[in-house]
Structures are given as C-alpha cells and as structure tokens.
C-alpha cells in the first residue's frame, strides 16, 4: 500500500476517534444535566407537596404556589420529558399516602401543570400511549375523565381495553360490573385476576345488586370473571349462579365454577352435598373425576357415579 494512502486512512481513523470521544463526552454531559434537572424537580415537588399538605400556621394550602414553583423548574408543556417525570412522582406519592392526605392530593393533581398531559395521551393514535394515559389517570384518581375512558372498555386493542376496564373498576367499584354484559371481547385470565384484585382493593364491601346486573352477560370470559368475584368475596348467596354454570359449554367456565364451589364449601358444608347431587350434569368426564377427587380429599362420602 502506498504511504500516502496509509496516512489518509490513519487521519480518517483519528478523526473518527476524536469525534467518538467528543460525542461520548457530550452524551455524558447531557445525561448529567438531565439527572440534575430531575433531582431539582423532585426536590421542588417534595417541598411544595409537604407545604401543601401541612401548611405553616396561618397559611392556606395554595394550588397556584405549587403550580408556579413547578413551572419555574421546567415542568412545562414544551418539555414533555419533565412533565412525564413529574407524573411518575405524583403517582408514586399518591400510592404512598392514604386517608385525608390522599383526598388533598387528588384535589391538587386536578390543578397542577401536567393535568392535561395524561388526558391528552388519549388523543394520540398509538393505542399504547392511550393505555398509558388511562393508567396515569386512574393511578392519580382523576375520575372526572371517566366518560372519555369508558369509551375504550371494549376496544379491539387488548392493552387499551385492559387499562380502561381497570380504570372503571378503580373509579366505580362494584358499579362498574354493570358494563360486563357489553363486553364482547376476550378478557384474559391475567385481566380477570387484576379486576378481581382491584375490586377487592377499592371496595371490600360487596354490592350484589350490581353483580345481578352483570348476570345478563353471554361472554364466557365475563361469566368466568363473575365466578371469580363470587369466590374472592365468598358470596354464598350467589351460589345458584355458580351451580348453573357447572353445565356451561365452555370448559374454562366450568373449571372456574368447580374451583369456586370447592372454595365456598369450606364455609358452607351444604355445598358439597349439592355438588354431589348435580355432578352428573357436568359435561366433562375429566372434570367429574376432578370434583370426586377433591370431595374425597375433604372426607365426604361419595356415592358411586357413572363416569
């Protein structure tokens, strides 16, 4: 290789190396300044939130004061990264506090800068962004947007309808079950468990009148969900609905019904006897065997059945 060419390649390589080092230094500097900004936002947020929840004697909690301080440290619409960081801080704080402080925070969150940021995500085309917006709204307890969220409860995108359904349960509790007959799409097992747990978190006191409204549903996943709710809350008064679904054409619905009855029988011994009586009606041989096995384990006398 001629010497001139070699020199040219070395120069190119050195240039590339210098550019690379400069780029790395710039990126590190940019990251540092971003982290500094985040720390500043967190410090101001902590200061203002504590001031808002426990104002100094003689002072009133002020929304405007919090709003101004956050804008001053860069939480503005044109800086979406800062707004997103503030939303995360708000959610974290909301999850940590309960009682009267939680109510105070809910009022504050309706007033301070990013309050449009989450609902604005619902206007985006990307369903993931919409789902993220809904998640932020229900985690910050902003139930004034319930109407916009309810529209997505049966959306074709699984993530979007999942978050919309959880939001409805968070805001309405047992009342949200009246939407069940209008859900035509699949409700995954994971989603069912999430709904049941959320319902248990937000409202421990069962309201069976809303559950009765949901009985109209024909969707097997929704029926499974109802059965799981009956099991979780030990609703012995609703046991007829579970027995009815022992003959459901869907294997999964029958499975949920069997597990529910086996759980309920711990509290009501009569259920085991009734289960033995109706066992012949279960369409699957495997499931009949399964019921027999569990009943025998519980020490019940099992009559000879045609399997």
């Amino acid at each position: 290789m001629p010497f001139g060419n070699l020199e040219f390649f070395i120069k190119i390589f050195l240039l590339f190396l210098v550019a690379n080092i400069l780029l790395t230094l710039c990126a590190a500097q940019w990251r540092r300044s971003k982290n500094r900004r985040k720390k500043l936002i967190e410090a101001v947020f902590a200061d203002k939130i504590s001031d808002f929840l426990y104002p100094q004697t003689g002072k009133k909690p002020s929304f405007i004061d919090v709003q101004r301080a956050l804008r001053k440290v860069g939480v503005r619409e044109e800086r979406p990264e800062n707004v997103q960081f503030l939303i995360q801080l708000m959610i974290r704080t909301q999850q940590a506090l309960g009682g009267s402080n939680r109510i105070q925070l809910k009022r504050l969150y309706g007033q301070i800068p990013p309050y449009r940021a989450s609902i604005d995500k619902l206007r985006k085309r990307d369903p993931f962004q919409k789902a993220l917006g809904i998640k932020e709204i229900y985690e910050m307890d902003q139930n004034q947007y319930i109407k916009q969220i309810a529209a997505y409860r049966d959306h074709k995108n699984i993530y979007l309808r999942r978050e919309a359904q959880i939001a409805l349960v968070s805001f309405l509790g047992w009342d949200s079950l009246r939407f069940l007959p209008y859900l035509s799409r699949k409700i995954s097992l994971w989603q069912q468990i999430k709904i049941v747990e959320k319902l248990h978190d937000v409202c421990r006191e069962p309201k069976v009148e809303y559950l009765h409204l949901a009985y109209k549903t024909k969707n097997p996943d929704a029926i499974e969900l109802i059965i799981r709710i009956i099991k979780k809350f030990y609703l012995l008064s609703e046991v007829d609905y579970v027995f009815l679904n022992l003959k459901h054409p869907s294997y999964e619905v029958r499975k949920a019904a069997i597990y529910c009855l086996l759980s309920l029988k711990v509290r009501d011994g009569a259920i085991a006897e009734r289960l033995v009586r109706v066992m012949d009606g279960i369409p699957s041989k495997i499931q009949r065997k399964q019921v027999l096995k569990y009943l025998a384990k519980g020490g019940h006398t099992i009559p000879t059945l045609s399997l």
């Binding site: 504590s50 929840l53 426990y54 004697t57 940590a96 506090l97």
Partner: protein, 115 residues
C-alpha cells in the same frame, strides 16, 4: 423542651412530608436518607420517636433493623414502608419491639394519633 424525632426515609418526597408533619406538630425533626448519613455526634443523642423505612440499598430489612438498634437510642419505633408482606412484618417484630408498622398507602393521621 421539644421532643426529638428522627426520620429515616430513602424517598425524598415521603421524607419531606413526614418532616413537615412533625414540624407542624411542634417536634424537633431530623431527617436522613439512610443510616450511613448518621454522624458520630448523633450516636450519643436520644430520640423520642424514630420513623424509618426498611428498604435501603445494600442491606436487608432484618440486618438494617439490627444495625438501627445498635446505633440509635429511642423510645418509640415506627416503620413506614412499602413492604407490606406479613412475613416481613413478623420477622421484623421478632428482632425488635415496633410501636407501629404502616405499609403503603399510609394514613399519617394514624401515626400522629399513636405518637
């Protein structure tokens, strides 16, 4: 004389809220992000109440509680943490006497009442 309170919380927001709560109630409140920030001169001091988290970097909740017991003198110990599992609560209670265990979401009014 003002009663002394020590708040040990890694989360800045929670630390500030607790600090402000104790200040408004007339306590002399000291706040730290971790036990490592504790200065030697404070080791000798005595606190009326210690409010602490259990989650700190590089140390298990059980080890942390033992370390806290060895380094600080206090009358009452309250735990405010996101760890709500019964297993943790039991193992911590076995190691030391706890006057109140509050997992998230925590109602600070309950802490005020207990103090």
């Amino acid at each position: 004389m003002q009663k002394r309170v020590l708040v040990l919380q890694g989360d800045l927001v929670m630390r500030k809220i607790l600090e402000r709560m104790f200040h408004t109630k007339g306590y002399d409140c000291h706040c730290l992000a971790s036990l490592a920030e504790f200065k030697d001169k404070d080791v000798q001091s005595h606190f009326h109440v210690v409010v602490t988290d259990l989650l700190f970097r590089g140390i298990s909740p059980q080890e942390y509680v033992l370390k806290l017991n060895g380094s600080i003198k206090y009358d009452k110990l309250f735990v405010v943490t996101m760890l709500g599992q019964e297993k943790i609560k039991r193992s911590i209670s076995r190691l030391t006497t706890i006057d109140g265990y509050f997992d998230y979401p925590v109602d600070l009014k309950e802490i005020e009442d207990k103090i």
